[in-house]
Amino acid sequence: MLRIEHLSKTYGNKKAVDDLNLHIAPGEIYGFIGHNGAGKTTTLKSVAGILQFDTGEIYIDGKSIRTQPLECKRSFAYIPDNPDLYDYMTGIKYLNFIADIFHISAADRQMRIRKYGDLFELTDDLAQPIAAYSHGMKQKLAIISAWLHQPKLILMDEPFVGLDPKASHLLKGMMREVCDAGGAIFFSTHVLEVAEKLCDKVAIIKGGKLIRSGTMETVKGDDSLEDVFLELEGESC
């Protein structure tokens, strides 16, 4: 579903991502963990086609994000760490805009907006301007818009930040549903307990370099993910 090959990205003299290789197969929830500034957001933005990387290749469903960006973007959804949406639109206008971009029929969008709106208890607020939304509401709206076009791959940067416990629980269930239907999830998080319980595979990145990756069992063994992460962080230091 997603293949990252020898990805490198430099900002000035700083190597944000250094020769990163990852493969995310259909049906997998792949967690991406690392300290602040490790290169998680840079990697996710590069996969999403927001950031132009220096070397390497990123393939989504066999297509290169560099040479076939539109085809790739049609098959995934991206939720950034800070959902800066269009404040000047209402929630429903925003969802309709996203639905138009993905050519979702009127009937389908109505059904999905109702379904996810009700699920996240956001339906009543859809007529409000996004500027009036709280951070959590914006995050919920970003999640609804991501799920609206039923993407095969969902990329999320810290998706649980700002969500209430109920919405977090819902999101975890929805992530599993996507993967059960043959899709894949690639997300970054600092909440190691969530990663441990939710992810099929995990990758740990430090200073732009991948220091460990694989199934949850291979990466953590008998220890907790937190212990392994802290140990690896210490080793690298």
Partner: protein
């Protein structure tokens, strides 16, 4: 604390001169200096030049008549009018709506320091606009009457008092807008309508002032005595510039009292207004069948939503859209008389009236430059367009289409109204349409070209890209320069020898050629630059 906040405020206002958003790094000292020089040249060189010309025209006759105070009163009032008009539109947004208000209010910062820093921003804008008028006036006076100590002190004091008075008026109006907008449902529309009313009032006063100035120059002594008798504060105000000690003390005290009152009002209400959530009834969502739109339509509607949601954007970059229908109606109402007068005055060179029509329509179209700040206005939500399956060109194209629609349709209305009262030769009408159409296209493309070349995505207040951004400034002056070239070339240079059709054909050709070049740049390099932002 205030010093720190002021530094932040100044950094924010002049960010574009210190920071290259495109390269994501600080500018070199040379680049910063060059940017400041360019800004000074555009603002003080061009606008200041116009008011220097006015000052020169007024100064000698009034000084000869012994009416020095009247000279300063006139120039001072124009300065107040321009200063207040220039800064009033962004006072509300600049004082009450910056995105970092919440952050700063959560810190141990006295509210008065925050208000002070915000006012400093408004003061700078007001000072900039008012100084464009009053500084040339003072300098021309010194040059004509001689540099004496009272004249130096009076000129400097008058400049200072005007800037504080402008700040007071702007803040009062900003406060009124804030209070009203707390209770309004359609804030954007009402703000635009109120601002337009202020705008019309400004021009009413401005045009009256033109006539009054002419009359004053011919009967300076009579009018001077009349103003001194019935509007004594105006006499005192003007006398400050001459260096009159008594007038300086009285006017300074009056300005200080007004400023004090405004300060009290603002510092008492700032917290309440800034933290208010609004008392407007919550809109209830009712599910309604939606229509599937094409990507192009969706992107165009997004541009319209952006435009309609921001009074600052509408007023600063789309004023022509609102004024053109007003002008069209005015032409229907008073057009016959106007064109009769123009026909009589501009009998030579031939076809001057159709030419002047082109210049007038061109100046109205120049008030629209929505494309110039549109890229910067994407701001922090740019990630959305970059992550969606949308070709970057479509995004840029939607921006161009919005400007073309919002300028082209009102222009057509204006042309229709004009043609109804002033029948034009079919070839002249065709040329008018071709010229206005090609100019509108060129301006939209120039604005977008500059917007893509010089974007500022890291703003905390949308006023920055809308009003202070380099693309907006340069587009504005490009339009202004174009009009001057067009007018001077025909009326004062031998352009008229080509005849109206020949002369305008050259401009249409140049417009189309430039448009094609910029269009090609946008399709290739523009798209690449936009994608790499």
């Amino acid at each position: 604390m205030l010093k720190l906040l002021l530094k932040k405020q100044l950094l924010e206002i002049f960010q574009v001169y210190y920071y290259d958003a495109k390269k994501n790094r600080a500018r070199s000292k040379v680049s910063t200096v060059l940017h400041f020089l360019l800004f000074a040249l555009l603002v003080f060189g061009l606008l200041g030049g116009i008011f220097t010309f006015l000052a020169v025209k007024l100064c000698t006759p009034l000084l000869t008549a012994g009416m020095d105070w009247l000279y300063f009163a006139l120039m001072g009032l124009i300065s107040v009018l321009l200063g207040a008009f220039g800064s009033v539109f962004n006072t509300y947004a600049g004082v009450y709506l910056p995105k970092d208000n919440d952050l700063l209010l959560s810190m141990p910062i006295p509210v008065s320091a925050l208000v002070g820093a915000r006012l400093a921003g408004v003061y700078l804008m007001g000072l900039l606009y008012s100084a464009i008028v009053i500084l040339p006036a003072v300098l021309v006076y010194w040059g004509t009457a001689g540099v004496t100590l009272p004249a130096i002190l009076g000129g400097l004091l008058l400049t200072l008092l005007i800037s504080i008075f402008v700040l007071t008026i702007s803040c009062m109006l900003g406060w009124m807008v804030a209070r009203i907008s707390q209770k309004l449902k359609h804030k954007s529309l009402i703000t635009v309508l109120v601002s337009l009313a202020v705008f019309c009032l400004y021009y009413f006063v401005y045009f009256r002032a033109q006539t009054m100035i002419q009359q004053l120059l011919t009967n300076a002594a009579v009018y001077g005595a009349r103003i001194k008798g019935s509007a004594y504060p105006v006499y005192l105000f003007g006398s400050v510039g001459v260096g009159d000690v008594k007038a300086s003390i009285i006017v300074s005290a009056a300005v200080a009292v007004l400023f004090g009152l405004m300060w009290l009002l603002l510092s008492h209400s700032f917290l309440q207004i800034t933290t208010a959530t609004g008392k407007v009834a919550r809109r209830e969502y009712r599910e309604a069948p939606s229509r599937q739109r094409s990507i192009s339509t969706a992107l165009l509607c997004r541009e319209f939503s952006r435009f309609a949601a921001s009074p600052s954007y509408m007023l600063n970059c789309g004023l022509g859209t609102f004024l053109m229908p007003v002008c069209g109606i005015a032409v229907l109402w008073k057009g016959r008389e106007l064109f009769a007068v123009l026909d009589a005055i501009f009998a030579e060179p031939p076809d001057s009236v159709p030419f002047l029509l082109c210049v007038m329509l061109c100046s109205l179209a120049s008030m629209n430059f929505m494309t110039a700040p549109s890229v910067s206005l994407e701001g922090k939500s740019l990630w959305l367009l970059q992550s969606l399956p949308v070709e970057p060109w479509r995004v840029l194209h939607a921006k161009i289409r919005m400007q073309l629609l919002l300028t082209g349709l009102p222009l057509l209305l204006c042309i229709g109204c004009t043609a109804a009262v002033y029948p034009l030769h079919p070839m002249h009408l065709l040329m008018l349409l071709l010229f206005v159409g090609s100019y509108t296209l060129l301006m939209a493309l120039v604005g977008l070209f500059l917007g893509v070349k010089m974007p500022t995505l890291t703003w905390t207040n949308e006023i920055m890209p809308i009003k202070q951004g380099a693309p907006v400034m340069i587009t504005l002056f490009c339009g202004f320069g174009y009009m001057v070239l067009l007018f001077v070339g025909f009326m004062f240079l031998p352009g008229w020898m080509l005849g109206f059709l020949g002369y305008m054909s050259c401009f249409v050709g140049a417009n189309l050629l430039l448009s094609v070049l910029i269009y090609l740049w946008l399709r290739k390099q523009g798209v690449a630059s936009f994608s790499a932002l």
